[in-house]
């Protein structure tokens, strides 16, 4: 909202001069660009010694087409592999079993009439309204209106990259694998009969069910999956996100309509995540792929964007760009040739309403035009407490593995010394941030893994508390002292006195700006000058990706496996914005990937967390919870570390009761 408001002041007032307006908008963005120069790390002669080396671009290798692969016979593979059976599960059944052992904290009536203003009421709502339906309780003809914050770029399963696209793909896409609330992977029994892995972990064999069809009635076979692998790996195809991981596979071979083998390049504990990619219908795309490898330019691909052939439980029946996407439950998903082969999804129709403005979204929830939405912390605290909200809705919260931090660019002279980074963490008033700025909604964060998660350190890593004496002592020790008595600490570098004055870049969101402003006030007290520079989100991403900053405020969601965080900490990794480098951390990540014993893996990742806690390349701030508003008609929401939807069954567990 802030970004838009800022824009309106420069846009709508200039309605008469649209060309000038467009130049102005672009100029503002360019000011961000030129302005950024002032916050780049200074040249090596002045402030840094190793910045020159970092100017080399990240290593880039040309993506190569797939090399030919000598596919072994299945019979030879069966002899050689010593297959180990892997779990084939149904996420809904797993949840039903888990709930049968949980104690229900109250009745549905009491939960619906409760205002969520305490942990107890929140637990009651989650327990009573989060349950799956008993037989005959669910209304299978119901429709749910979900909120989505932006339009889809693409409906092609392999071309997606945004959260909205992943949300819709979760309902319309065909997949073999998933993971539960505990983020443990399994093959989904809705599509897979058998999943086996070779003893040496170099092959995965999957046998598909024989009752799977695309929305156009054509059978889904192993050939679709092998074909999709080839399309994803075609360097001419502009696949944005799903190529990552898939490129770690050496080959995918369909031995018959149902038997499929994934050949890995290396034996890794993370291979299970690499075989989980979206699938295209071969009978559609084999005719069009070669003629138009962009998968978007030809008339056929334009038409497929509007009405894709779907392999999941829902199909897209209407797409009004910028307004809504309507999905309808596929009859031939749950029943084939008149026989019920799978559980029906609870909703007949799912309508994704595109609303970008958060105030309008909340009004739509209050009015009953949508049935669920993510609430902003201030909406949770102040705008969803009255009768106007509780008349039709309720709300729930749960921990989510999303953390926020200040990142310190270690290449700058300011933050190369670990003592200075620790001084920053001691200088910041964490309590004021958590209590005053975040309304006590968030828990403090001490590192990269959520406390209690299997990969988290078992040591008690105490959250940093403000201690200005300690911060000053650390700065004195690191040589940052106010030599010229101007109130600002400084240091002699290459014969020049460098004052401790730096900038922090931050997205233009009020809470984040307020946190940086608090840091500025705190640092003022110990003789450090901080300039807070709010920038547009794309500019922030560009500056951090190119390491053109001194400090920034940012956040990360958690991947499904701790190995996904290697991208943040390995020396030279793409998202290692702070230029952190520690050979022990690099080694531990490599070993963690090659270790198959869960306990031993956990030790390695726990050790990484402890090292990072000591080194403080980030000052970790808080874990951001999930906050959701739900219509009182909706039941079955169960939260995972990735929110209520992004796991199995996720959205599949939501339902509406039959009307009396």
């Amino acid at each position: 909202m802030q970004e838009v408001v800022g824009c309106e002041s420069s846009v709508s007032r200039g309605n008469m001069f649209l060309v000038i307006r467009c130049c102005l908008l672009l100029c503002f963005a360019c000011v961000g660009c030129s302005g950024s120069k002032s916050i780049e790390p200074a040249p090596p002669s002045e402030l840094t010694a190793s910045a020159e080396e970092r100017k080399e671009p990240l290593p880039v290798t040309e993506p190569q087409p797939l090399d030919p692969f000598d596919v072994p016979k299945l019979s030879d593979l069966d002899k050689e592999a010593n297959w180990i059976d892997r779990p084939v599960r149904d996420g809904l059944i797993l949840l039903r079993e888990a709930q049968s052992e949980e104690k229900v904290l109250g009745s549905v009536g009491s939960a619906i009439s409760t205002s969520n203003n305490s942990p107890e009421s929140n637990n009651l709502i989650l327990s009573a309204l989060g349950r799956l339906p008993e037989d005959g309780e669910a209304d299978y003809s119901a429709r749910i209106d979900r909120h989505v914050g932006g339009d889809l770029g693409s409906t092609n399963p392999i071309m997606i990259s945004t959260s909205a696209e992943f949300d819709i793909l979760g309902l319309t896409g065909f997949g073999l694998f998933s993971f539960g609330r505990d983020l443990e992977p399994f093959a989904t029994s809705e599509t897979v009969k058998i999943w086996q892995t070779s003893t040496d972990r170099m092959f995965d064999k999957v046998v598909l069910r024989d009752d799977l069809v695309w929305s156009d009635g054509q059978p889904i076979t192993a050939h679709d999956i092998a074909f999709t692998f080839k399309v994803i790996m075609d360097p001419r195809v502009p696949v944005p996100a799903v190529r990552s991981g898939t490129d770690q596979l050496r080959w995918v071979e369909a031995y018959d309509d149902h038997t499929l083998v994934f050949f890995h390049k290396e034996a890794l504990a993370t291979n299970v995540w690499n075989i989980n990619f979206p699938v295209l219908p071969k009978h559609i795309y084999e005719k069009t792929w070669e003629a138009d490898p962009t998968l978007k330019d030809s008339a056929e691909h334009v038409q497929l964007e509007q009405s894709p052939v779907c392999g999941g439980p829902y199909e897209i029946v209407e797409r009004k760009r910028g307004q809504q996407i309507v999905l309808r439950r596929r009859k031939n998903w749950s029943s084939v040739q008149g026989k019920q082969v799978r559980e029906r999804p609870y909703f007949e129709e799912v309508r994704f309403r595109i609303i970008e403005d958060p105030n309008t979204t909340l009004l739509a929830l209050k009015k009953g035009e949508i049935h669920e939405m993510i609430l902003q912390p201030e909406q949770w605290t102040t705008q969803t407490v009255g009768r106007d909200f509780y008349e039709r809705n309720t709300k729930a919260t749960a921990p989510e593995w999303v953390s926020f931090h200040f990142g310190w660019n270690i290449e700058t002279i300011f933050f190369r010394d670990r003592r200075v980074r620790r001084a920053m963490s001691y200088a910041f008033d964490h309590d004021e941030m958590l209590e005053d700025l975040c309304y006590s909604l968030y828990d403090p964060c001490t590192g990269i893994f959520y406390p209690g998660a299997w990969m988290a350190s078992t040591k008690n890593l105490e959250p940093y508390k403000q201690d200005l004496d300690k911060a000053e002592a650390l700065l004195d020790e690191a040589g940052w002292i106010d030599r010229d008595n101007d109130g600002v600490r400084d240091k002699e570098i290459d014969g020049r006195t460098v004052p401790f004055e730096f900038s922090i870049i931050v997205n233009q969101q009020p809470l984040r700006i307020a946190i940086c402003t608090l840091l500025k006030e705190n640092l003022d007290q110990i003789g450090i000058r901080l300039n807070v520079r709010p920038v547009e989100s794309t500019v922030l991403q560009d500056l951090t990706l190119n390491r053109k900053f001194q400090a920034y405020l940012g956040g990360w969601g958690s991947g499904t496996d701790p190995d996904t965080s290697e991208n943040l900490w390995k020396t030279g990794a793409m998202r290692n914005f702070c230029n952190y480098s520690n050979p022990e951390v690099d080694r531990l990540y490599a070993e963690g990937r090659q270790e198959f014993d869960r306990g031993k893996r956990a030790e390695k990742y726990g050790r990484i967390q402890e090292i990072l806690y000591d080194d403080q390349p980030y000052t970790w701030l808080y874990w951001r919870n999930s906050f959701y508003g739900f219509s009182k008609d909706v039941r079955g929401y169960v939260f995972s570390p990735r929110g209520p939807y992004h796991y199995s069954p996720g959205f599949g567990s939501l339902w509406k009761p039959k009307q009396e």
């Binding site: 130049c23 040309e62 910028g322 969601g557 996904t564």
Partner: protein, 316 residues
């Protein structure tokens, strides 16, 4: 030539902004959805963004000469198709708002001038100034709360957001009615600020004209006050009005970022704003070209209209 200079400047500025169309994807908060440097490079090559921007501009303008505005990088659609989808909803709002603005602003301006200094005129002026300074995003929120929430389930209820609740296979007239119903609040928001500005503009111009000698002459000849105001004074304020009208032509299709954002109206303002945020260069350039052409066309139209409203001006 003007068009080439404008598009060259905008293309250079757009390509000089930090980031590119892939930056947003790279910023996804889930580290498991990372785009490798190799993939990033491959994608930049596919989109032709690995070359310097002057080369990119030449490629773009060569295609434009052949009638091809290119394809949106983030939306995977031809830019002409994107504009075609969005222009209708925008013109519906802007066109209606423009018509209402002029339809109401001229009588209001005349009225204010005729009743200048009196209590009713002062009150009208106060209301118009208040409307002019009232931010549209606040007004939109109030209107939504009043008409969509408080007046829910009454005859006065109006839709909260969107352009239509009916499916695309609904009867034509039912859909037209539904769209008109959805358009009421956005049109109201788009109208009131410009109405306030234009009516005060007309009043100010009239007040300057009525002090001139020929008005005194007209009065001396015995013409009535309304006849003097409409036939003698107002006709002489048409030149600045025509200039204003000409300049509002691009605004007709430009849309408003804020109004379209709040009411989830699928118009050009949102498209332009999103394409800048996403660094979707083909869409930015397609829209810039269209706005530039319309600005020039608006100027030409105004020049032609001068000769109609003022006989002293000759087209030649």
């Amino acid at each position: 030539m003007t068009l080439v200079v404008i598009t060259l400047m905008v293309y250079g500025l757009a390509r000089s902004m930090p980031g590119n169309p892939l930056t947003v994807q790279l910023g996804e908060s889930d580290p498991s959805r990372k785009l490798n440097p190799e993939d990033q490079q491959r994608m930049l090559e596919i989109y032709g963004l690995d070359k310097p921007w002057p080369v990119g501009y030449v490629q773009w303008i060569s295609k434009v000469i052949q009638g091809d505005l290119g394809r949106s990088i983030t939306r995977k659609q031809p830019v002409t198709q994107l504009i075609g989808e969005r222009i209708g909803p925008t013109v519906l709002i802007s066109g209606t708002a423009l018509f209402l603005t002029w339809f109401l602003a001229i009588p209001l301006g005349l009225y204010a001038s005729a009743r200048g200094g009196r209590i009713d005129e002062r009150f009208t002026g106060l209301v118009l100034y208040a409307l002019y300074s009232f931010p549209t995003f606040v007004a939109a929120l109030f209107l939504q709360i009043i008409f969509a929430v408080w007046l829910r389930d009454t005859h006065w209820e109006l839709p909260l957001f969107g352009m239509s609740d009916l499916s695309s296979d609904a009867p034509f007239f039912a859909r037209c009615r539904d769209i008109a119903w959805h358009a009421i609040l956005p049109i109201t928001c788009q109208t009131y600020v410009v109405l306030a500005y234009n009516s005060r503009f007309i009043k100010a111009n009239l007040e300057e004209v009525v002090r001139q000698d020929f008005i005194r002459t007209a009065r001396a000849k015995g013409a009535g006050p309304w006849r003097v105001l409409v036939h003698h004074a107002f006709r002489n304020t048409l030149i600045p009005l025509v200039t204003l009208l000409g300049l509002s032509l691009p605004a007709l299709v430009g849309g408003s970022v804020i109004i379209e954002q709040i009411f989830t109206w699928p118009g050009m303002g949102r498209l332009f704003f999103e394409s800048i945020r996403e660094r979707d260069y083909p869409t930015i350039m397609g829209l810039t070209l269209m706005f530039s052409v319309l600005t020039l066309a608006g100027q030409l139209l105004a020049d032609l209209l001068y000769s109609i409203v003022d006989p002293r001006v000759n087209v030649e």
